[in-house]
């Protein structure tokens, strides 16, 4: 077994263990109802996490996703409900705005050499601020299109529901895997994250790839906002505060190195489902309080970076040596040396 698959394997083992434990406590985890709900409830931030996977593999970071999701929701609600726009036209416009926003952040990061951490932090404030400017109150969307989408459900024999959001999540997952492993863009992203200097010397279009990665991530965050808008049927400027943390945690738990250069989209998917399982379990078990999810997430983060450390440092515990041990110390995510 190649050592680079070990983090992925660990992610999968943790998910299996978590799910089997939940199943042993509540038999409903064996039904399609829970599976359908897991996919539906975690669809929107799972989509954002898949975008973040690309950013982190490229050696960057994006703190603005939660705010972009909130802005998307408010913008769609305002345009569709208050101004009577056509939903599909609104979504198209919003996706263009979101992609341009990400591309702009990429431009500032690449050409003006300001750390991604700081640029996307400004992006966080800007997008959240813009959604407050649009509306500070929750706007309910009533539109026949939204009704149609929410009726678009495949019902399993045991009344489990496979919803539109879940389908979008799986489609983004498949497209994300394809993009990461079977396209030139995907290879460029890995090369950039592995070693930006070498990538430049090898002729990787560094500028285009950096800008593309942030544009892609904001596109997916916008798409996540639309999916959330469709399932919540409302827009709220205070939604998804701090979501970027959960998203980054999921990417790390999914086995992606925060230094960049290594990681799998499918790992992020499994991590999202793991955190979703814990959330569902805590909801079903009334005696446990909701803040345990944060503590457990922190613990999982610790366990996974610890594992990567062991793999990467060549301490020989697993008898493998990973090339990530040779990452020069000045390379930190989002803090690219100029």
């Amino acid at each position: 077994m190649k050592s680079r698959f070990l983090p992925l394997l660990m992610t999968f083992l943790v998910f299996s263990a978590m799910y089997l434990f939940a199943y042993s406590q509540f038999n409903s985890f064996g039904s399609m109802r829970i599976v359908g709900n897991l996919l539906r409830d975690n669809a929107f931030w799972g989509i954002a996490a898949i975008g973040m996977t690309f950013v982190i593999i490229s050696g960057g970071i994006d703190l603005s996703v939660g705010s972009v999701i909130a802005f998307t929701g408010v913008f769609c609600a305002l345009m569709i409900d208050r101004n009577g726009w056509d939903p599909l036209a609104t979504f198209t416009l919003m996706l263009c705005i979101g992609t341009a926003f990400g591309a702009l952040m990429g431009v500032v990061i690449h050409y003006f050499k300001i750390p991604a951490f700081i640029v996307t932090l400004s992006g966080l404030f800007l997008a959240r601020g813009m959604s407050y400017v649009l509306s500070t109150e929750s706007i309910r969307i009533e539109h026949p299109f939204y009704e149609q989408i929410s009726d678009l459900v495949y019902v399993f024999p045991d009344r489990g529901r496979f919803t539109f959001a879940a389908a979008m999540f799986l489609i983004v997952l498949v497209v994300g895997i394809f993009l990461a492993h079977y396209t030139r863009f995907g290879r460029n992203v890995y090369a950039l994250g592995g070693n930006p200097d070498a990538a430049l010397l090898l002729g990787v279009p560094v500028a285009r790839t950096t800008i593309g990665v942030y544009a892609l991530n904001s596109f997916l965050a916008t798409f996540a906002g639309i999916v959330l808008s469709l399932s919540k049927q409302s827009g709220d400027s205070t939604i998804a505060v701090g979501l970027e943390l959960d998203v980054i945690s999921a990417v790390v738990i999914g086995g992606t190195l925060l230094t960049g250069g290594a990681g799998y989209v499918i790992g992020t998917f499994i991590a999202v489902m793991t955190l979703g399982t814990i959330q569902t379990y805590l909801t079903l078990d009334g005696s446990l309080t909701p803040w345990w999810i944060k503590i457990v997430t922190g613990f999982l983060l610790f366990a996974f970076v610890g594992l990567q450390r062991l793999l990467g440092s060549g301490w020989g515990i697993f008898g493998v040596k990973d090339s990530s041990a040779n990452v020069p110390p000045e390379r930190q995510p989002g803090i690219q040396s100029s």
């Binding site: 970071i61 703190l63 932090l121 400004s122 500070t136 440092s313």
Partner: protein, 357 residues
């Protein structure tokens, strides 16, 4: 002249960076930061003619400038710790969560005292010490992960950032407990010579830390670790120990900031106390001119960076702009300040005005 200095190619050697930092960077950066602060203050004055007015009400100075200082105090404490951490090429994302933990600890303990517990460890003074110790433990955890397990600082502190708020909620059982004890409240809302006590606290810590790192070789050690930790280790520095101590200091100062915030509102809200304050602190440090790549650090400029952000926020408050635009203006001003500091951007912006040679 400074433009020419800064337009040196970015891939100049690290030594070149250090030399430039010593010869010119420090001075001109200080100038830019002070100018930015003055511009914002003058804009505020233009918007609101009474901006610099101070009144004495009940032995307490009232005015926008005092508000700026008062609001800035906890962030200055965070920024001091953050500056030293960033100087070692680290970052501390957990300070907001540590604020919440320390505030929660202090308030839960002081409630026992108010309920009549007489044990010495429930006394207000001791409670504060315990809260600071909790901050030190949080910093120790971060420092151990960074210095001895060689985790990247951004992930090592992300763990506590995620889990810490959960721990704070665990301590208060998800509630936002309140207290009435005046000794603990004094640290956040006390007034000395008409000026809020936190202002003295922040200035005091700033002076002590500055003396500590500039009058001893400690500051040089920290910069050496930040420039090249392996080289500093080979020259005989205890690089790991230095990293560990800056994270611990950051934790203690975050705990102190948490006490100030708890004292101000006489309660501890584990959900919102210190939320996003780590991001504001990092912003202030970067505005102050300390590079996220480590090395040279500027404590006083970081404090000025905090004042810039707070002057902006107070200015927005006194302006007739709708409060919903606060975040947008903040994002734009911060980005403008950062772009002005970027040599690449200055070159780009001045390109059309230069003669081609």
């Amino acid at each position: 002249m400074s433009l020419k200095e800064n337009s040196v190619q970015p891939d100049a050697s690290r030594w070149g960076l250090v030399r430039r930092g010593i010869s010119s960077g420090g001075g001109s950066r200080l100038l830019w930061t002070v100018v930015a602060l003055l511009v914002i203050l003058l804009v505020n004055r233009a918007i609101s003619p009474t901006f610099f007015d101070l009144r004495l009400v009940n032995d307490r100075l009232i005015g926008s400038t005092i508000n700026i200082l008062d609001n800035a105090a906890p962030f200055v404490l965070l920024a001091i710790g953050m500056t030293l951490v960033i100087a070692t090429k680290g970052i501390d994302l957990s300070v907001g969560a540590v604020m919440a933990i320390s505030a929660a600890t202090a308030v839960m303990l002081i409630r026992n005292y108010e309920a009549g517990a007489t044990e010495f460890y429930y006394q207000p003074g001791f409670v504060m010490l315990i809260a600071l110790a909790v901050g030190a433990i949080c910093g120790l955890w971060n420092g151990l992960l960074v210095a001895f397990f060689n985790l990247q600082p951004i992930i090592a502190t992300l763990i506590l950032m995620v889990a810490g708020r959960g721990v704070a909620q665990l301590i208060t059982n998800g509630q936002s407990p309140t207290f009435t004890d005046e000794t603990l409240a004094f640290i956040g809302r006390g007034v000395v010579f008409g000026v809020p006590f936190p202002v003295f606290l922040a200035i005091g810590v700033l002076i002590v830390v500055t003396l500590l790192v500039r009058r001893t070789a400690l500051g040089l050690f920290i910069e050496a670790v930040g420039v090249n930790d392996r080289a500093s280790y080979y020259t005989g520095l205890q690089a790991s120990l230095i990293k560990l101590s800056v994270y611990m200091l950051s934790g203690v100062l975050a705990a102190l900031a948490g006490l100030i915030v708890a004292g101000e509102v006489k309660s501890a809200d584990p959900h919102t106390a210190g939320l996003y304050s780590e991001l504001d602190a990092i912003l202030a440090v970067v505005i102050g001119g300390t590079s996220l790549l480590g090395g040279r650090f500027y404590l006083a400029q970081s404090a000025l960076g905090v004042l810039i952000i707070q002057a902006l926020l107070v200015g927005l408050y006194v302006s007739s702009l709708h409060p919903t635009t606060n975040l947008v203006v903040k994002a734009i001003v911060v980005l403008a300040v950062l772009l002005l500091q970027s040599p690449e951007f200055r070159q780009f912006a001045t390109q059309p005005f230069r003669r081609t040679t």
